[in-house]
Symmetry: C2
Subunit: 322 residues, 2 copies
Amino acid sequence: MAVYTEVSDEDVRAFVAQYDLGDVVSCKGIAEGVENSNFLLVTDKGPYILTLYEKRVDPADLPFFLGLMDHLAANGLTCPQPVAGTDGVALRSLCGRPAVIVTFLKGMWPRRILADHCAGLGEGLARLHLAGDGFTLTRRNSLSVGGWRPLFEASRWRADEVKPGLADALAEELDYLEAQWPQDLPAGIIHADLFPDNVFFADGKLSGLIDFYFACNDLFAYDVAICLNAWCFEADGAFNVTKARLLLANYDRIRPLSAAEREALPILARGSAIRFLLTRLYDWLNTPPGAMVKRKDPLEYLHKLRFHQQIRHIADYGLDRS
Amino acid sequence: MAVYTEVSDEDVRAFVAQYDLGDVVSCKGIAEGVENSNFLLVTDKGPYILTLYEKRVDPADLPFFLGLMDHLAANGLTCPQPVAGTDGVALRSLCGRPAVIVTFLKGMWPRRILADHCAGLGEGLARLHLAGDGFTLTRRNSLSVGGWRPLFEASRWRADEVKPGLADALAEELDYLEAQWPQDLPAGIIHADLFPDNVFFADGKLSGLIDFYFACNDLFAYDVAICLNAWCFEADGAFNVTKARLLLANYDRIRPLSAAEREALPILARGSAIRFLLTRLYDWLNTPPGAMVKRKDPLEYLHKLRFHQQIRHIADYGLDRS
């Protein structure tokens, strides 16, 4: 639940006066997103989203994120687009924070994942990967294989508080991943955080993707592996192969996975599992219980990691070798 | 910050299908309100507010609250109006909770109170008191003088944890208020919780009142006293007599206060101070520090109580005797 910055009515009005958006009708904090303060801004021209970037976003990355949204939209992907002021500038500041108004997207994110959602997701993810082609800015993925070791070291001494033996299990897995991580797979712009709350559906069809604040240059198939973890496990921990099959088949239809990408899925899924396990573990150990943030359970991702460690054939993901 | 209930996209769509509002475009939880779950619902017909009533609202009171909003709107007050479904029914249920869709109000509540806001408030409060005339349902004010003693007894044994001597000070004040509380002043429908976050302004003018979930039958001047406390003290604790004068003069212009109401303002303001002091004290002592709710400081209202205890002449509120 977000909204970290309280914005006054005068501040909003003065801010919106810099745009060709008419008068402010209303501006309400939204209880969504965990990294930034988000407001649903209604002006004479309709609804928009006003975002204030809080401290977890590096301002130096903002030109990449905003440029990417423009680039993706220009290439046919439905995603929020930064709105420029009358001076042509989209990135401004409000209440001492970088701030931007983006277009409003139709739809809601699915609270209960159905198989059909995974089909739409697969197609949307592949279209995102294609739409990123030609974007000239780049951003390194600080949360890929090279970033896990320092994250682990920051939590290692307390990891066993969460589960006895966790530190050793993570150390062993990291050794494996660092040695075996694939290097030569197709790469480009990936979303890197495409959880259900970042994917909108309307009338059962995917209506847009949001929240590009982890987007970066990395392996396309790693993004697919992130989605397998985020969308294809049930609340009881069971892997739903029907969902995985629909996700992969619909991805494949738009951007066919190469044989090498398919064979790499188990290790990429292990990597994706440890990436979210490590950030959740860090937040778990470093978020005071009294903070107004809901902590996410790191062990959910230990369970997913264990699942992928057992995978011997990609048929277990619903994929044929091809 | 609210939104206690997570509502799925399917649930929202099925719910809205019972209305003549077209399709759901979007539905986002709002980070406002502390008693209920509120969502900004956008349909083909425009924006609405969807409210789910959580456990602090007694469902038996809902016909009073919803009927009151209809009555006030029919009498020219700008406030949210319950929207009826195609079956003519406004109060339904969603996710196991009573739920209602109300109309969307233009404007924002003022984060920084200016003197002009208090002028608009005074007029709006008087118009509310007049507009309530003729409403046939009634609701006792459980948080007026008769309700304070049990609330105090629930916190008495721990009050001194918040401030040494607080229990004795409250007991003494309650004895005074119970003995001296005025009985024969003009009464009718009051809002009883008209804090700045319940009053919207657009372009500097009051654009509407919201959140009638404490509304009840009680003394009109008690509602005025609640506003004096909620709007006319600065963050440093100073009483701003300019704001009070504007509030009272603009109230008086629409509904003149009688001599008896004017003379009663100091005791009504003491009563209003102890009412919010007692509920905040109770919440302070009974909200675990880890809860995702921001606790309000009870001592802010002890300070206000002390101020009103010193009042000897209503001129101190910016009022002439008349």
